[in-house]
Amino acid sequence: MFKRHISITSCLYSIPKKNKLPPRPKWLIKEDEIKEKFLKGGSGPGGQKINKCNSKVQLTHIPTGIVVTCQATRSQQQNRDKARELLALKLDDLYNAENSRNNIIHDRQLKLKQSKAKKANRKYKKLEEEKDTPSTPEEVIMDPDQEFDEFIKSAKVDV
């Protein structure tokens, strides 16, 4: 019993708290080093003749040639901001490798998964022991962004 307790705490200890993650590396963005383009898709007539609702923003980081795009929201202003965040993360990956925000988040997710798996194992064992307790299925609530990413991953279509 005692042993098990220790293993839980030591394992949790190495997982950084969500609010202790490195900050978004926005300072890596220098406006004079990027080229911004608004991609409206297609070569139609535009103006009053069409009512598009997407507004894709593309940023090219001139010194490294890294290109990112964002069309996550319907607002061009917000897509511009998000594209800059994305680019900053990529630059962070490039410059900081090991200690980049992306890497630390990735690491954290892995560790969380492992610790969940361990817990699940224990839970399973416990359930085995006291078989008569009925289990209620947990409802998974995803935030829309995550859900969208899941869709895309499972879509597996080339369009």
Binding site: G47, N54, T73
Partner: protein, 298 residues
């Protein structure tokens, strides 16, 4: 463009039952997914089914979600009033930045054919925290547009004055009691009737626009620019104007008429490289830097 095939529909259904009705208006699974994401984010679950079915009938997404982002504003949209376009948002932001740089003591502006009010509201919003005194007006001939523009003004806590009015009315300026004006903007209907009836592939109008947006907001040509100049620009004290357009001939017409009255004229392209606005300024006036927004000066 991907064709909407049975295979594509099956693929869509395997992802989500809400997806197939979004295919005709979107043409690809990824675009449809993006729209579905927005529908799910912005509407309660019990409206998703109705929303995707409306989209199947080519109702513009902005009428379904009831808004269109425009700069930092979220413009309310309603059936019967034209949805603001990204091209308009683009030149409007450029104009707002130019005006900020002028550090005017006072900006008196009229936006003719104002629709949702988006142009005047964005200028108001972008300049409200500067030292410039603002007196901004917008008018439209459509009652639905007038009501919606006022609603947008309240919704965003801005201070544009909206009126009912007709560009073709020679006394419009007196009726609005506005003579002390320095800037006139407008995005008038600019699609010639013959193009309105063509398919979008032949430089015509897209299906969703033709079926659901008001013809009153779309069909027009030289007569609008002519009347904007004679009924608003020339009789007022304006020393700058910006009119959206869709054809080089319309810019040429504005140049012909305005240069005879002592104006300098140029046009501006949008980021899709299409001719988009005609701009006018007085050689020694407050708005002579409108020239810097031009891709061509006559």
């Amino acid at each position: 463009m991907t064709r909407v095939t049975a295979k594509l529909i099956r693929q869509a259904r395997s992802i989500s039952p809400y997806l197939p009705p979004l295919l005709p208006a979107n043409r690809s699974i990824n675009q449809a997914l993006l729209e579905l994401k927005w529908i799910k984010c912005e509407l309660p679950k019990n409206e998703w089914r109705k929303a995707v079915n409306k989209r199947l009938k080519w109702v513009p997404l902005q009428y379904i979600l009831k808004t269109q982002p425009f700069g930092n504003l979220n413009i309310l949209c309603k059936d019967g009033v034209l949805i603001p376009r990204w091209e308009t948002e683009e030149w409007c932001m450029k104009l707002a930045n130019l005006i900020k740089g002028l550090k005017l003591e006072k900006l008196s502006m009229i936006d003719a054919c104002t629709g949702t009010g988006c142009i005047s509201l964005l200028i108001n919003d972008e300049l409200k925290s500067t030292a410039t005194n603002l007196d901004i007006h917008g008018f439209d001939v459509s009652g639905k547009a007038y009501d919606l523009a006022k609603e947008n003004n309240e919704f965003h806590h801005l201070s544009v004055n909206f009126h009912l009015g007709d560009v073709f009315d020679e006394e419009i300026l007196d009726k609005l009691q506005l003579t002390d004006v320095n800037l006139i903007t407008s995005n008038p209907p600019y699609i010639p009737e013959e193009d309105y009836n063509k398919s979008v592939l032949l430089n015509g109008v897209s299906k969703s626009v033709k079926l659901h947006e008001p013809k009153l907001a779309l069909v027009g040509n030289g007569e609008f620019y002519y009347n904007l100049l004679y009924n608003l620009v020339f009789p007022s004290s304006a020393d700058g104007f910006v009119f959206e357009l869709g054809y080089k001939e319309q810019a040429d017409l504005v140049n012909e008429v305005a240069k005879l009255n002592g104006w300098r004229v140029g046009y501006m392209k949008d980021s899709a490289e299409k001719i988009r606005c005609v701009l006018g300024w007085k050689a020694d006036g407050k708005f002579k830097s409108l020239k810097d927004l031009c891709s061509y000066v006559y």
